[in-house]
Symmetry: C2
Amino acid sequence: MATPKPGKPVRGSKTGQPIMALFDLLGRSWAMGIIWHLYRGPSTFRKLQEYCESISPTTLNKRLKELTESHLIERSIDGYMLTKQGKELFELLSPLGKWAKTWANNYTSK
Amino acid sequence: MATPKPGKPVRGSKTGQPIMALFDLLGRSWAMGIIWHLYRGPSTFRKLQEYCESISPTTLNKRLKELTESHLIERSIDGYMLTKQGKELFELLSPLGKWAKTWANNYTSK
DNA sequence: TAGCTTTGCTATTAAATATGTAGCAATTTA
DNA sequence: TAAATTGCTACATATTTAATAGCAAAGCTA
């Protein structure tokens, strides 16, 4: 499957509306988890595999390529790391962490 | 596949960390798109199918069940709609729309 | 510098998900 | 009361993801 690009047809939008292209990209397995982990700092392929517990190398490699093509991550001497844009995106996603905790509480009480 | 629940093993976390449970839930195809569309107001099953362009009824139904179990959407006389929690979540996701536009610009210029 | 380890993958097969299409029972509308 | 709409389900197929093995290249290590 091709890397979703704004302006091209993606899941959710034939005209490739940016938000839908983003959802297509982030909606693939592990994509958000990878970004989440990389915010802590650069990481090698093998370290990412450990962090992401059960990710298969095939899938990890695919996600890394997609995120690289999308300018959200890049390779450095220390391994994969977030780009400036990638960090920006993380900062938008980050409030979800807090929200998820209250969601979890609410959940268990029901 | 079971609906991901915080506290239970999910993709990305054996202990079911809330953020990972959320990513597992939102990371399934169309999940974020459905929330996005429902923010405009309640919608029937068929309307959602139209909005989501190419979603199959099988997948839509599955997503709707998962999101309902997760207390993010509920049914009303007017169709499916976001719960209070669902709206909160949308509001956290909403900044992504703006970000995605600048991301798209950056993209096409490269 | 020969051997051992680590890293970043690829290949292959199997399992899980998503799609596409048809269609049906239960309302709602005309 | 016939026709249309809605909310699905069934089933076959296609696409994604996972699991496992393992290999080439680079970096130690003795």
